[in-house]
Symmetry: C2
Subunit: 250 residues, 2 copies
């Protein structure tokens, strides 16, 4: 697409506009979008106007805009996210019904765990995960699984990057993280007690597709001191069910 | 954004590219996208290349591309679709667990019913609905609810348009449709027996947001001759639960 005078493509600008919308910032004015995306005010107004005309953004009142239903529809209807999620849903519902805590499906995206789905019951405990939200690989149980079964380059990249603590228990030492990843591979699951929130324990297992590659992590978030074993039994049953749906003959 | 020589904006071209991906066409070459979007081959290759660079599309192998996880994430994480869907999920899971048939949530989008969610069990019957898929307003039970409680202009627009049959039982006569809409308003629910598929019956109820406006339809798809009353009881309980979550004090 045509390049602007500053040299970035129009697609880059579009991405920068979309990135200004977050789970907690769902409506903004064109001026706010321009400021947050680093775009001149006139460009921001023009781009927002075009995105509203095409239905990708929707006008809230006469000043603020939101992500449009049309954009969600186009981004979802043929997506791999939807395919994976639909393959996983029956198993996730069963795990959630039995464990009665948050049940989640995550994939690797740009060196983070991206959550495709989260099912919660009225009695589920604390949980920071959101659908289409992310968590760091070194801290979340899903991330540890995706990292442990990820490729060598990914592991070295994460191990040589800063490992910021989310709680006092998050693993921040690369040597300890390398040991944890080996443990995850050997056990076939990850337990992250207090790594994300002191009050909860994440438990995750890998999910393989028809090629045998780990494409997702299935996880539950338990209360910190809840027993892990019943969750592991359900997660392993659920993971096998999803793998069968994905065509894995392991 | 900059206009191309043909006068359409880059945003229009982007939408045309995204529109070529459908639930049954999830991977395409740049050449196929160009042909389906009506773009010159050179433009199609350039746009696809940029969208891949930004992560909005992902390369499948060296020739085909898919909708990227990044696009799904950006389109979902702050969307109204996600908010509505999350508010509805606990109620939908309860309805699905009790009726054990497809349970769905739809909104009005561009004069059609757009489905935000569909929960199904292993024993659920036939159903053509997909997440992020659409059905015509005059034929689906969800559509009839959204139309019956929609504004006057929408109703007149649909009533004066062709009403194509999906089965021999779909209402195709505007006079009969007007009567059906009055019935839906008076009963507070829609029953569509055989309108979409001869083998099934859709049952839908309206869902109101905090302003009292109908923003969605909650529905189940039953086997054609299954009794409607148990589903209606669950749908009404579910709808009230969603309305409370949305802040409606009806």
């Amino acid at each position: 697409m045509a390049n602007s005078s500053s040299g970035d493509s129009v697609t880059d600008r579009l991405v920068r506009v979309l990135e200004t919308f977050t789970p907690t910032r769902t409506a903004q004015t064109a001026a706010e979008i321009g400021r947050r995306a680093g775009l001149p005010s006139s460009s921001a107004h023009r781009i927002v106007g075009e995105l509203v005309d095409s239905g990708l953004l929707e006008r809230d009142d006469d000043r603020r805009v939101r992500i449009g239903m049309r954009l969600w529809e186009l981004a979802t209807r043929s997506s791999q996210a939807l395919r994976l999620r639909q393959s996983a849903m029956p198993a996730m519902e069963r795990v959630q019904a039995r464990i009665r805590e948050h049940t989640q499906l995550a994939i690797l995206e740009q060196d983070e765990a991206l959550f495709l789905e989260r099912l919660s019951g009225p009695a589920s405990g604390s949980n920071v995960t959101r659908v289409a939200g992310r968590l760091p690989l070194h801290a979340s149980s899903s991330g540890l699984v995706l990292l442990a079964f990820g490729d060598h380059d990914l592991q070295e990249r994460i191990l040589s990057s800063p490992l910021p603590p989310l709680t006092r228990e998050t693993i921040t030492d690369p040597v300890a993280l390398r040991r944890k990843l080996a443990e995850v591979r050997s056990l076939g699951h990850a337990v992250a007690r207090g790594f994300i929130e002191a009050v909860s324990t994440g438990v995750a297992v890998p999910v393989r597709d028809e090629t045998g590659q780990v494409v997702a992590a299935l996880s539950v978030v338990l209360r910190r001191d809840a027993p892990v074993e019943p969750a592991l039994v359900e997660l392993h049953a659920g993971k096998r069910e999803i793998e069968r749906a994905l065509g894995f003959r392991g």
